[in-house]
Each structure stands twice: as structure tokens, then as C-alpha cells.
């Protein structure tokens, strides 16, 4: 047994990487609304303005498009910008810069320029966040060539990915961080993190022969819980944490489905034109014959997110829905008679989160 395993909250992992980025290079800076205030992006930048100065940890006017463009200019001039959006929804105000400029600056000018930067966007959920504080927009940006879009699902993933992005990648990266993850403790293995060969690669989190579950962000945790619940019923899940939404490990997905013959995709966003649709495209184009059953996808209801708790609980799939879908897919039976977990929204399960946002 290694002694290296410790426990760290997602928020703490984020803080460690932010502190590390500022310590590593004088030319790195964090910029975003409220990065220097008493909440410090949910604790992930808390105290860093005092430590490194307000020119390194910059609060901004409410100007998402300009801040993104300013980060482009700063990046061209040798700085490394880390932008924060306390809700991914606000990032839409910067869509022109992200899609028309950031994604294209390297290609459009034939490689004359590079604009390395990290954009951190927090995906909200529960406690009445409503339609404009909950959107999980990974597919919108992963659609655009030139962007790398990641969704780290635990503390180890943050500690693995962020230093690599900040220190090694000379291109823009957008990371969607799920708010529900922030206060959760995860086991981390420093040695394993240090030895990871491809820090942004999709990860096989669990092995099983009956069904492949491809999941993103907090849905990886849900898939792990579902797999724990179903193991006693001899239903065994292969779970792939996609991590890199824009550049998934297609070989890993195809190999897994070749083994299990069954594929379930659980994403934090809507299914249409999203991660679910894209993983289906990959399988359909590259290896349709590996599927023994039709694909099953889980995502949010095809509506804007409602605010009332009763509606919100219906809008998101829960552990019961996930287990039920896995059982139906694996047994081939609508009435599978396998005991399912209580119907409880995951936000009640992860009781740490209590708003206001």
C-alpha cells in the first residue's frame, strides 16, 4: 500500500492549482468578476489577491467579451490568462471572442500566433438556480475547431489537468467545473497524478463486462454510485470519464463497447446535438457492429431549467433513473425486478451544497 493517498475537496484542488500557477510564473494572472472578494470564486482564489497582488488576481468590470479579448491581447504579449466565470451562462457574453477570435487566432493566421489561456466556467445546479445559472455548455464550445473543452470530474483530475494546461499547452482550453463537485472530498494519489502520461485523456474509471457508461463531470460520480448499487445484482459497468469533451479517446470507447455490446451515455447537458449525440456519432461511424443493443442516453429534460424544486427534480435524471436505465439495457426487460435505490435527487445526496449559489 502506498502512503501517498490523501483526501482533498474539489475546491481545494482548484485552489492549489490557482496558487501554483501564480507562484510558477510572474506572467500568469487570474481575471474575473469577484476573484479577489471574500468568496474568492467559491474559495478557489481566496486570499490570492493579497498574496500576489491585485494586478495578478484582477477583479473586472462586468464586461465578459472585453475581458476575453483583453486576455487574447495579454496572451499574445507573453502573459498567461486564467479567466473565471462563476456561472458558465455568463460566458455566453464572451461568445464572439471565444468562437470568432480565441478558437481561430492560431489557425486563421496560419500559425503566426498562439493564444494559450484557461477559461474556467462553473456549471450550477439545484437550490433554485433556474434557467440562466445552470447551463452546461460543453458541446456548444466543443463544436468549434480550435477549442479544447474539458470537464474534470474529481480532485485528482483537476490536479492532473490544470498544471498541464497552464504550463504545457500553448492553446486555449475551456474547463467546465460542476458546482456540485466543489465541496466533495476525493481520494488523490500524488504519485499517480505525477505519472499520468496524458493529463487530458479520457479515463477508464471502473471495469465491468455488461455495459459501457460514458459520462461527464458529476455524472461520472453518479455512474460510479450506480455501478456500486448494481454490482451485487451481478450487473457490472465499464465506466469511462470522458474528461476531454472536445477530443475524447474514441479508441477507448470503441474497445469498451466491443467488450460490453451496450452503451449508455450520461451527460450533464441536453442530449440533442450534445455529448450524447457525439458519442453516438463516433460509434455509428467507426464501429456500429459492436452495438448489441440500441444506445441509451441520459441528460436533462429538453427544456430550460425550471426553478421550483419539484420541477427541478424532474428536470435532472437521478440515481434511480440511471440504475433503472442500466438494468433495462442490460437485462433487455422493461420489468427487470432489480431493486432500485430510493428516488432521491443527487442534490439531496450531496448535502454540502446549500446555496445561495
Amino acid at each position: 500500500m502506498t502512503m501517498a493517498v490523501e483526501t482533498m475537496a474539489y475546491r481545494e484542488a482548484l485552489f492549489e492549482t490557482m496558487d501554483g500557477a501564480l507562484a510558477q510564473s510572474e506572467d500568469s494572472f487570474i481575471i474575473g468578476q469577484g476573484v479577489d472578494d471574500h468568496t474568492g470564486i467559491f474559495g478557489t482564489t481566496l486570499g490570492l489577491a493579497e498574496k500576489y497582488g491585485s494586478h495578478r488576481v484582477m477583479d473586472t468590470p462586468l464586461a465578459e467579451e472585453a475581458i476575453t479579448g483583453i486576455s487574447v491581447g495579454a496572451s499574445l504579449n507573453g502573459m498567461y490568462p486564467i479567466m473565471t466565470h462563476i456561472r458558465a451562462d455568463f460566458m455566453l457574453l464572451a461568445t464572439n471572442q471565444i468562437v470568432n477570435i480565441v478558437a481561430k487566432y492560431h489557425y486563421m493566421f496560419g500559425g503566426l500566433f498562439k493564444v494559450p489561456m484557461l477559461i474556467r466556467a462553473v456549471v450550477g445546479r439545484s437550490w433554485g438556480q433556474g434557467a440562466q445559472h445552470t447551463q452546461s455548455l460543453q458541446s456548444l464550445f466543443a463544436h468549434i475547431p480550435g477549442l479544447t473543452v474539458i470537464m474534470p470530474s474529481d480532485s485528482a483530475s483537476i490536479l492532473t489537468a490544470y498544471p498541464h494546461v497552464i504550463n504545457e499547452i500553448t492553446a486555449p482550453v475551456i474547463s467546465f467545473e460542476h458546482r456540485l463537485l466543489y465541496e466533495l472530498d476525493f481520494a488523490i494519489d500524488r504519485q499517480q497524478i505525477a505519472e499520468t502520461k496524458d493529463p487530458l485523456a479520457s479515463q477508464l474509471k471502473r471495469r465491468g463486462d455488461d455495459v459501457t457508461i460514458v459520462a461527464t463531470s458529476v455524472m461520472v460520480l453518479e455512474a460510479m454510485r450506480a455501478a456500486d448499487h448494481l454490482a451485487p445484482f451481478d450487473i457490472n459497468c465499464d465506466i469511462i470519464d470522458l474528461v476531454n469533451v472536445s477530443h475524447p479517446d474514441t479508441a477507448m470507447i470503441i474497445e469498451s463497447v466491443r467488450k460490453t455490446g451496450r452503451l449508455l451515455i450520461a451527460d450533464t447537458s441536453w442530449q440533442a446535438y450534445g455529448v450524447a449525440a457525439e458519442i453516438c456519432r463516433i460509434i455509428c461511424e467507426a464501429a456500429p457492429s459492436v452495438l448489441q443493443e440500441p444506445v441509451v442516453t441520459l441528460g436533462m429534460a429538453a427544456t430550460p431549467c425550471p426553478t421550483a424544486k419539484t420541477l427541478e427534480d424532474m428536470y435532472y435524471p437521478d440515481l434511480y433513473d440511471l440504475c433503472d436505465n442500466i438494468c433495462k439495457l442490460v437485462t433487455g426487460l422493461e420489468e427487470h425486478n432489480i431493486d432500485l435505490p430510493a428516488k432521491e435527487p443527487i442534490t439531496d445526496t450531496y448535502k454540502h451544497f446549500r446555496g445561495p449559489f
Binding site: D27, F29, H55, T60, P61, A63, E65, A66, I67, T68, G69, I70, S71, V72, G73, A74, S75, L76, N77, G78, M79, P81, N96, Q97, N100, I101, Y105, H106, Y107, M108, F109, G110, G111, L112, F113, P145, G146, T148, A171
Partner: protein
């Protein structure tokens, strides 16, 4: 009239730009340049005067109408023609074309087809320059229509708030595509800039590259010494259509009288002695650049798929 060294230097530069664009007009019907072109004919003096006041290591960010800016900043003519032709020897292997000229080695840091979108880039580069204490001046070069965009206001606010070494250069030709300013702006631009506490300077004589250079030089020196952001607006006149090689005085949104008023001041038209002095060299340079473009190879699949990430 006594002719200064500065005058003849800038005259040569401005005439070169005009002749380059006249060559583009000549070539356009032959489909040698298969992309939109936004010509600067009539506006050359602004780019020439502004860039004369800058060092090579000072940066400028332009728009889709940037042939003049690129050349005035010192961009190579052969690489530009090859880029317009879509050849692999072009600045950006043909991936950029007329609307996205760039040459980082001379401080031409990019140009965008989306109005106002490069304004924050100059502000951000200025933030980098201030942080790293390089003494570099950054220029956001845009048209009057850009000041209607939200990002322009966000950028002005940020630049003033942080007293960044950036100059906002408004090239006012009076039209956003075909819409006159009075249909677009409820505000007075000078007052607007004063609201952001950014000092403004206005030059009415947009044909006078010497004056533009002198005024710009003073602003550049001030900004370089830490004097904070400045705004310079230069009135000018676009002689050709918004996009394309032709004239459009019969389109109904403007008339030829305005054009002729500007021609009556234009040294590139009036000063035929200086034209005669520099014309031959310019023609030779353009011939060579066009030949280079003609003889260059096309980009292929390798270029298509490289430099995406």
C-alpha cells in the same frame, strides 16, 4: 511648397498602398483574388501617418480593411500578394486572405472581420506591456462604426480604469458599410470618450499624412511615458465601395461631390511631381510581388489540417 524628407517618405508609402490596391482592382476580374476585398483607397494617409509614429516593436490591431495598415506598419508586399492569391507562400499559407492580414515581426498583430473585435486585444496587449514594463505602445485601429459595439465601451472603460498604454485610433469614413453616422450614433464621440476620462484629439485633414504623423507621435510619446490611454480620430474618405473593387456613387447613399471634395485635397492626386519621383520604383515592387504570387504553389491538405489547436 518646401518638401520635407518626412513628406516624401510618407508620400511614397501612401502612393505605394494606392498603387497596390489599384493593382488589386485590375486583377480582381481575373479571379486571381478569390475573396472579399475592402479597399483603403482614399484612407491611405491615416495608416501611413499613424504607423510612422510607431516603432517596429509597437503593436497595432486592425480590421478587415487592413491592406493599408499592414503595408504602412512594414509588412512585406510579396507575402501579402501571395496571401491574397491564396498561395502557400502567403503570410498565413492562404488561410487568412485579405481580411486577416498579420505580420508579428513588424508588429501587425492581427485583423478581424468582426467589427470592434480587435479593440480589446490592443487593451490586453497594453496590459501585458505595462505588467512587463516593456515600454511598448499598443494601438487599436478601427472605423467609426466600431464605437457602436458593446465591446468597444467595455474596452475603453478597462483601459482607462487601469491607465494602460494604448491608443484608440478611429478612422472615421462616415459610414458603417452603407449606413451614415447620423442613422447609427445617438452620442457625440468626443463626449463619449471624455466620459471615460480618455483625452481625445481630432484631425479633420485625413489626407495630411505629415500632420497625422506629428500628432500621433506626440500621443505615442505621452502614452509611452505612462500618460494613460488616448483617443485619436481622423476624418477620412473611402473612395471605393464598402467591399469590392468598384465605385458606388450611383447606389444612392452618398454622392460624388463628397468624393471630389476629398480628391481636391489628396496629395496623391495633386502632387504629380512627387508621383513621378517614386512611381517607377513602386511599379517595379508591385510587379515583383504579383509575379511571386503568380508563381507560388497552392496550399494542400497538409495546410488544411495544421495549426488547428
Amino acid at each position: 511648397m518646401t518638401i520635407s524628407n518626412l513628406y516624401i517618405k510618407l508620400f511614397r508609402e501612401a502612393l505605394k498602398i494606392r498603387r497596390v490596391e489599384e493593382r488589386i482592382i485590375d486583377l480582381y476580374p481575373y479571379d486571381k483574388i478569390q475573396s472579399p476585398v475592402h479597399l483603403s483607397i482614399g484612407q491611405e494617409a491615416v495608416a501611413v501617418g499613424v504607423c510612422d509614429a510607431l516603432r517596429t516593436e509597437d503593436w497595432i490591431f486592425g480590421t478587415y480593411r487592413s491592406h493599408a495598415l499592414y503595408l504602412a506598419k512594414g509588412g512585406d508586399l510579396s507575402l501579402m500578394f501571395a496571401e491574397l492569391y491564396g498561395k502557400v507562400t502567403g503570410l498565413s499559407q492562404g488561410k487568412a486572405g485579405s481580411m486577416h492580414l498579420a505580420a508579428p515581426d513588424v508588429g501587425m498583430m492581427g485583423s478581424s472581420a468582426v467589427v470592434a473585435s480587435t479593440i480589446p486585444h490592443a487593451v490586453g496587449a497594453a496590459m501585458g506591456a505595462k505588467h512587463r514594463q516593456t515600454g511598448q505602445v499598443n494601438v487599436a485601429y478601427f472605423g467609426d462604426g466600431a464605437l457602436e459595439e458593446g465591446v468597444a465601451h467595455e474596452s475603453l472603460n478597462f483601459a482607462s480604469l487601469h491607465q494602460l498604454p494604448v491608443i484608440f485610433l478611429c478612422e472615421d469614413n462616415g459610414f458603417a458599410a452603407h449606413s451614415p453616422v447620423e442613422m447609427r450614433q445617438s452620442f457625440d464621440r468626443q463626449t463619449l470618450l471624455e466620459t471615460y476620462k480618455i483625452p481625445t484629439t481630432l484631425i479633420e485633414e485625413g489626407w495630411d499624412f505629415e500632420k497625422i504623423s506629428k500628432v500621433m507621435s506626440e500621443l505615442v510619446e505621452d502614452v509611452r511615458q505612462g500618460g494613460g490611454p488616448k483617443y485619436l480620430e481622423v476624418k477620412t474618405y473611402r473612395a471605393r465601395e464598402h467591399v469590392g473593387p468598384g465605385e458606388d456613387f450611383d447606389a444612392g447613399y452618398r454622392n460624388r461631390d463628397d468624393y471630389e471634395h476629398w480628391c481636391a485635397h489628396d496629395p496623391l492626386i495633386l502632387d504629380q511631381d512627387s508621383v513621378a519621383l517614386v512611381e517607377a520604383d513602386i511599379k517595379q515592387a508591385i510587379d515583383a510581388a504579383v509575379l511571386f504570387a503568380e508563381e507560388s504553389a497552392w496550399p494542400g491538405r497538409a495546410e488544411l489540417m495544421t495549426d488547428v489547436i
